[in-house]
């Protein structure tokens, strides 16, 4: 069995998120390695996603957040 361009495209977002079954992943892999059009679309979508992810990966939690939580938990525990 082989996927058509349409069948591949329908699965592209799930493929990007590694949400396809092993069989589906293999079929998409096979199609992308033999179809320049779909491969280009896939690479582009992957690039856009990487850039967007990179922009939202910040910020780290403020250094004092966890200690603040610990303090309020301690207060809650002793009040109980």
């Amino acid at each position: 069995m082989k996927y058509t361009c349409n069948e591949t495209f329908e699965r592209l977002q799930d493929y990007l998120d590694r949400e396809l079954s092993e069989d589906e992943t293999r079929l998409v892999d096979e199609h992308l390695s033999g179809c320049g059009v779909c491969a280009e679309e896939y690479e582009f979508e992957a690039m856009v996603l990487r850039h967007v992810q990179c922009r939202v990966r910040e910020p780290l939690a403020p250094a004092d957040l966890f200690s603040k939580i610990q303090a309020s938990l301690a207060a809650e525990s002793s009040a109980a």
Partner: protein, 194 residues
């Protein structure tokens, strides 16, 4: 009694510590504000601690905690202003890809995409996310900040996996439309990217 109390708190903190960063990032992207995000994570922590007995050990603490945080966020929002449930028009597939092609920007080069994203900074992406209807924004944000599998997102938001999938895919398409609008507002033209 005292040592018993301490050990519950200690167990809770041990679960919480590794996910504080992702919880804060998620809260920050939801609220768009550092102080509100701090408050939200702290509120959720207290609430989660209170109900920690209902958490089954060895299950997914991250999903359990983020569910509490998300519910807290929606509760606060409801109080502030009743949300209009906005529908999301179907954005076209491959929107950016087609816009790049139409404007003669090479789609197969990392540099051309990178040059557009140089202009679309963190605030711009935040603004683009903020334009999404809330139920789409929550799914997209959760996936972007944590790369959680769909099933875990479904557990956090208490919605079916199929709903996660369709909301995420539609949100991403709409996000591309917003990003292109922003890129244009920032004056990005093919000439500049060459």
């Amino acid at each position: 009694m005292m040592t018993e109390e301490l050990s519950v708190q200690h167990r809770f903190e041990r679960e919480l510590q590794p996910i504080v960063d992702v919880a804060f990032r998620y809260a920050f992207r939801l609220t768009g504000n550092r102080d509100e995000a701090m408050d939200l994570v702290q509120d959720a922590s207290l609430l989660a601690f209170k109900y920690f007995a209902s958490y089954s050990p060895e299950t997914n603490f991250r999903a359990w905690f983020l569910r509490i945080l998300t519910n807290r966020f929606f509760r606060n929002r409801e109080r502030a202003s009743k949300l209009a449930t906005e529908s999301l028009d179907a954005a076209p597939d491959l929107y950016l890809y087609d816009r790049f092609k139409a404007d003669g920007i090479p789609v197969d080069r990392e540099e051309s995409v990178a040059s557009v994203f140089e202009k679309i900074n963190e605030e711009a992406v935040q603004a683009a996310l903020a334009k999404l209807p809330e139920e789409y924004r929550v799914v997209a944000t959760l996936h972007l900040v944590s790369e959680m599998p769909y099933e875990e997102i479904a557990a956090v938001l208490e919605i079916p996996v199929g709903t996660v999938r369709s909301r995420l895919h539609r949100a991403r398409k709409q996000l591309q439309v917003h990003l292109w609008e922003l890129a244009q507002a920032y004056g990005i033209t093919p000439k500049e990217t060459q």
